[in-house]
Symmetry: D2
Subunit: 357 residues, 4 copies
């Protein structure tokens, strides 16, 4: 019966909101988009008009309260997340909140506590890489113990370029490195206890005064180390890799050699021809499938009353690490992460999200 | 409005039918499964019971005629395809028919003519590789002309093993090589005019008397050549590749290096360790995404009144080439393909399916 | 003592002769170049002058007879090989003869018989691929039996372009395909009993009337099949590959991904950047190391009184297969190879060359 | 004339000395081994006996002084290098000294000064990676400026296991990381000004108390950063990689995918089969060709009165960085490298070694 489809509302009609609307309309089973909300009501109407049977509302909180909305995707700017996600929890509506969960640790912790008090899992944070086939397989391999204990990760995160003139050094930590923070926690299954952000001489393609690339080192609770390169003006394309080093082997997720392989005439290096392929242009291409799988898994889990993927705690922990990272960026020194005790906040044996199916 | 979802019925509840049912329920937008049909009514009921709101019927033709079924997926055995697809055409219902279209050229041609007489495109044949990202990208690259004219293809088609004891030499042509037939026609955008099937000394893992592997050579209408290895008991896994050689470059779709890359301890070769990854176990893993995209594209096109992917003509042509291939298998000699004139059958300027979006 | 160095004379001072002279002077141990011979005495003198202590002579047979020459490299045009190699045998001098051994089967057989009658192994034919690390490792893997019996080979042989206007279709068989002939015999450890050469519509980069690319199929004595692409005007670079398919696995020698791997800005395909590397420009780069190892192995074996690598019989067999191949090229039909019986010619149990160390 | 061969003496008859002896005898042109020296005279005699015309002497300094020895390879333990290399300089004999140049900065500086005072280049330090085709090509690519300025390096250095029970944490810095030190200086063409060595929780395969793996970060004079993983008990094999990140692209030397590529039955992961290849077992296999090229280049340069590759200054600088590294290992803090001013020591415009041909 169609009534059993999950009726989804989306808050925020920017790039991510629009992508999720298309996704729900075209590639996701068991759900349908029924409403979109944005303070910019004209844009909300334009998005609604692209899909059959979708209403546009100006007030996000009205969308949350709407009885015909079963579940909510929060794709608005980070600084309004706290209010909106708390509203979703208050209305007991399953929520997929794009990262960051909120703008600082204290507010993220309030979300964690509100969900705890609600007594059932409601919030998934949009760390989509956990749903990328290769990242998921890497996590599985490490968790299987086949390679022994995990010792190191080396993460690479390269964007072709950043879109606007306001992209400062701190944003590289908060908006780009944050993905590596979640990857490190996901792969090790442990918290990050300290972070050091180093500032190499920057590329000439970065804005004046912006530290790009950055090299960050995480210390894991169990003593493992994670090295991270984040380079948001690399000019080439979107390249994201994670190499895990364990006691009896290593593995890499995200090598770019996954598309078509070609040889062709004419390469500048003096060689007559070249072999290779194209680097993905951006994250929507590289992680398009991961987003599809993430939203499908969220829909499926919501219909079962569960949460999969990254939890509100994961969102809180990522925020706490990035807060320490921004301090370290200023000094180059190692900064301890100020993290609440998970067992104190959530209780002993508080479960994590269901494993990704 | 839910009424706008395409209401789909599936005929046949074997592996493919069951997979498509899950797909429609879990990963496809804009459609919902409403009925399944199979002469084995108990199996049909079991499948229906796994999904909400799905009816089971015993008579496939009743499903086709059902007013609450907008479109049909034919996943029954090949020998009943003709009757079922003709019924779908008679009821003007968009149809996705698994390969083979029918069992011989004459019956396939009858389907082509019935669809022609119906006056609108209704039939898509399930050559899913056209929807595999790499095969699709290769087609695009060749069609773009960037590498000049296409000269050769080299196709590799390896299965770990074939499931049942009845898999004879002819079935390798009809059920396995048929995919390479469609690939060759798709990549060149031309008909195959002759085929030669060569019989190497067989592997000891094949049944007695079965020619496995086989090497087939296609001659294209424009003079291009295609070499094909089909090996259905290769023991390793499912490995499917297409290398195109053009005047100014070459390209390969389907290299297996697309999953996780790992190094690990312990390899039999005397070397202390190995690098590499896992070969896909079977076609459901290798082409799972292609099937998703195929069915989504079929749903989207059906809602627009169009057909994408392989047409009934493509299904007919593939059947005609395999018929000639089975003759060649018996003698090792080159056999001309007995193909009707497309323009005579369909009229000058008859359009192919819409390009894959 | 220096006297124990093998004193080598080179006949022919073209590209190959010059390369071998440099090789002996700069990268080979246990040997030194003492003389070069060429009817074009001026060129011979020019080459000699580039190296200390090397004499130039006009008459190749005088070089062969020279008491201060212990061993001879024959790098002259193919049509003078017979006379020169027979002279080397008559003087009991270890000889490394570039391919082809001679221009036709009858003359090659005369060389085989002369060496047989001399009573000791003297002649190595310059099939350098046997000394390429990857081709050698592939041979070892197949011979080890780890993958079971070898069933198929797929060979790829691409040159950027051919240097002169005289390069006709037959020369593609005799000068390029001949390497694949030796590879097939080397990998299977069997004779080729039939060959079929197919003529696809040619590239527009070939001379008028030249069949390029060509597709050749070999039938091995044990029933295995070998498909070969030879494409001498592929425009891209030099790309040579051999994929072996066996009962429990497959293996590829010669993938081009062995050099530097780079990502960089600017690729024509609309993608922002590309990953990959450079294709080798020609055979001197691709097989430079193989030539070094070949000549070093020849020197080492000559000092021990042995022959390694391809024997005169291998040279004869390759010539016989190419002779049949040129007939097949004219008709497209399969042609049986007219090969003498090895045991009749050489005696039962005649040993092959020593295995490559 | 044979007299023009470079007559080489080797000091030290361990693994490296023995390898170099074989190399000179079998794969190097223009030189011959005439003498070996080792305090363990029996071992020296055993090595000499394996080669024609080679004398064994007990006293290394006698070998240096020997008039029939033109040039010397120092392959003795590091703590006797200073005396032996100074003797070579005193006798004006071209010297190839295995790393480390000496055991501490002060003694290395004395060698630099002695060579300076000798007035002509005599000493090459055995950093063989500069002669590895891929490392050399990477250096060339970076120096060409095609990718813009170099920003970062990521080095990976993995050994299967270390041979003896004395391999302590400091030795990982001095004997393994030292290669990455030279790589960083070679690739950037700059000095290292600071080093930080981090200690992750160690693998259970390391000896008790040994920090393995280690993560080291170098700061280059121009502000570039280098991250290094050194892991000497990785269990898998020998894997050494260098990824350079520049303003408009990146490149990797040393990916392991350069050997045979195979698919085969039977992998532990539940997958039916695997694709990939073998990891090199150790440095003698991985860098065998680099050693050959290094020694050949040293011989060629010695005959011209030049030095190529790493100079005594490079050896001194590497020692100074490792000294700082061992301090950092103890504390985890960043330590500045105490390096003399090159222009003060060598004079303005002192030339580096000749570029590698």
């Amino acid at each position: 019966m169609p009534g059993q489809d999950l009726r989804v509302g989306i808050i925020g009609v920017g790039v991510m909101g629009g992508d999720h609307a298309d996704r729900l309309a075209r590639r996701i089973g068991g759900a349908r988009l029924v409403a979109v909300a944005d303070p910019d009501e004209a844009r909300a109407r334009a998005l609604a008009a692209r899909h059959d049977g979708v209403r546009a509302v100006a007030d996000p909180l009205a969308l949350v309260a709407d009885e015909e909305v079963d579940a909510v995707i929060v794709a608005s700017p980070g600084f309004v997340h706290e209010e909106q996600v708390l509203a979703c929890i208050a209305h007991s509506k399953p929520t997929l909140c794009e990262k960051p969960l909120t703008m600082d640790s204290a507010s993220s912790l309030r979300v964690v506590e509100a969900e705890r008090d609600a007594g059932r899992p409601l919030v998934q944070v949009g760390f989509m890489r956990r749903f990328d086939p290769q990242y998921a397989e890497l996590r599985q391999l490490l968790a299987s113990g086949r390679l022994g204990r995990t010792l190191l990760l080396h993460n690479t995160h390269r964007n072709k370029s950043v879109p606007n003139a306001d992209f400062r050094s701190e944003m590289i930590v908060r908006d780009s490195l944050v993905h590596e923070v979640d990857v490190a926690r996901f792969m090790f299954g442990e918290e990050i206890v300290a972070i050091q952000v180093l500032s190499p001489a920057p590329t000439s393609h970065a804005l004046d005064g912006v530290v790009d690339p950055q090299v960050a080192v995480f210390t894991m609770a169990g003593g493992g180390l994670v090295t991270n390169e984040v380079f948001v003006n690399c000019q080439v394309g979107y390249e994201v890799r994670c190499e895990a080093v364990a006691e009896r082997g290593s593995a890499i997720a995200g090598r770019p050699q996954t598309g078509l392989y070609a040889t062709s005439v004419g390469e500048s290096a003096g060689a007559p021809g070249s072999w290779g392929g194209a680097v993905d242009p951006d994250y929507t291409v590289r992680f398009g499938l991961a987003y599809d799988r993430e939203v499908q898994a969220w829909v499926d889990a919501a219909r079962r009353g569960e949460v999969v993927g990254a939890t509100s705690w994961d969102g809180f922990a990522a925020t706490a690490v990035c807060t320490a990272g921004m301090q370290s960026l200023a000094t180059g020194e190692r900064v301890a992460v100020d993290l609440a005790d998970r067992e104190v906040v959530l209780g002993v044996g508080a479960r994590a999200a269901q494993p990704i199916p």
